[in-house]
Symmetry: none
DNA sequence: CCCATGTATGCCCGTTCATGCCCACATCGA
DNA sequence: TCGATGTGGGCATGAACGGGCATACATGGG
């Protein structure tokens, strides 16, 4: 049996049964657990399955985002502190743009109930979180929705951001450094981030220190375009001063 | 049972019952209270639940939820049957528009995992449901988000619908009748519905029979613009034939 | 026909994850 | 204010994971 056949069959089993587990599959197909894990990883990457510890669940069956909840465990405390610190940067009664990203999502979740703001976002999870916030006037940016990040991209999103002007944007990046600027793996997403960045008077970057020095495929701006960087104390003082020399205020929490 | 499955189930229980508590959940799932606490913390971090001492309540349930919870349970069986029947109207490999509404949301949740479709929607809950679906190319319609329905309205939404052409639209209405057509309480929402209606070659209306004869403030179309009405058997045969005389096919399930 | 290259799989082993247990501390209700 | 109950941190454990390497088989060009 060829690997693609096996994967096809695994997918069928997962959809039929609602779940699969590594050891039973290994037994079933007479291969080792490693091979099954490789299969599941491939199917997960293809977006067809959701990998969980011990097995997998067909994509589309859970209406919450395990990958988001999972990534939440990575540097969760730092992200929380960063989000808390970002609350101080909220405009009073103004307009802000929220980029897609787990740290920014935390900020959205931490918005005080008595806040009165206009929020613009192209992130589906963030919009869902703010849709019932009594003080938030929410504006959703449309577009094609990327499965992995659940964020809207492409023409509609770019045009919409081109038509607005906000007081502040809270931006996320997968990598940042003084030399290579702000980067993210996906080109389409980078384009939207660039548009969001250009639509705000003030740019606040929320990124934990593990992102520093990382470079990804698509660059959407330079650190000099960022007015304030909020990160955690994992950023070395030398790096911080180097960034501040570029005109970006740095806040380590 | 995997942790994400358990969390999904906890979320469902919380939404159904309005609240959950640690000890009952621990008993229910045959795990210790610590594990449940960890689950609740994860769901809290993901913004789906709000942790309280001894348990948790669904997020954002405080102001608008009773309304939605009630609507969810009202005529749940009928809505499910209607949604199931609507599955037969899906285009093959085509494009469809999903209007905002609980019945349409059920249709979205019932889409087979192996379906391959392009879906356009201005409803946040429906988008959230489909964002994870492997076979769905999702396009989100932007705009101002109404708190009550969590649907995008206003200029951006109208323009976006004006730019597309879909095979079919699955429409919802708060009231319908041969005399007064399709109505809904909100003007802005009616405008979007009208735009969605105009953007599709075929119009399918999903509405349980309790909606028949009801009239609301804003009218967004006539029953003659509807190609197919799917409703439940609560619609009297006379009413059904009256509607069919207007050129609308009627399916009672 | 041969050998270089690539791919699928298996095996080993240090690392991570989910869960349970324990205990000091916080919170709630009377 | 006090006892009961819930909470979160630390630690232990067994299962699952994944990177690195070896093997075997297929592929493809000379």
């Amino acid at each position: 049996m060829y690997a693609p056949e096996r994967q096809q069959e695994i997918l069928r089993l997962a959809r039929d049964g609602g779940r699969v587990d590594v050891v039973s599959l290994a037994e079933e197909f007479q291969v080792t657990a490693e091979t099954i894990r490789r299969d599941l990883k491939a199917l997960d990457r293809a977006g067809l399955l959701r990998r969980v510890h011990g097995g997998a669940i067909p994509a589309g069956r859970l209406d919450f985002e395990p990958d988001l909840a999972e990534r939440e465990t990575t540097a969760a405390d730092e992200k929380d502190r960063i989000a808390k610190a970002a609350l101080a940067e909220l405009p009073e009664e103004g307009t802000m743009i929220l980029d897609a990203g787990t740290t920014v999502a935390r900020l959205a979740g931490a918005l005080p109930l008595e806040a009165s703001l206009t929020v613009v976002t192209h992130s589906l999870p963030i919009a869902a979180r703010l849709a019932d916030h009594p003080g938030v006037q929410l504006h959703l940016i449309g577009g094609r929705v990327r499965h992995r990040t659940r964020a809207a991209v492409d023409a509609w999103a770019l045009r919409a951001y081109g038509e607005i002007r906000a007081d502040v944007v809270f931006l996320a990046a997968n990598g940042f450094s003084a030399e290579h600027g702000l980067t993210t793996p996906d080109l389409a997403e980078a384009a939207v981030k660039r548009a969001a960045l250009a639509a705000a008077r003030r740019v606040v970057l929320l990124a934990d220190s593990a992102k520093h020095g990382q470079e990804h495929f698509a660059r959407f701006g330079g650190l000099d375009e960022v007015d304030l960087l909020i990160t955690d104390s994992g950023l070395s003082p030398e790096d911080a001063t180097a960034i501040e020399r570029g005109g970006t205020e740095v806040l380590c929490v």
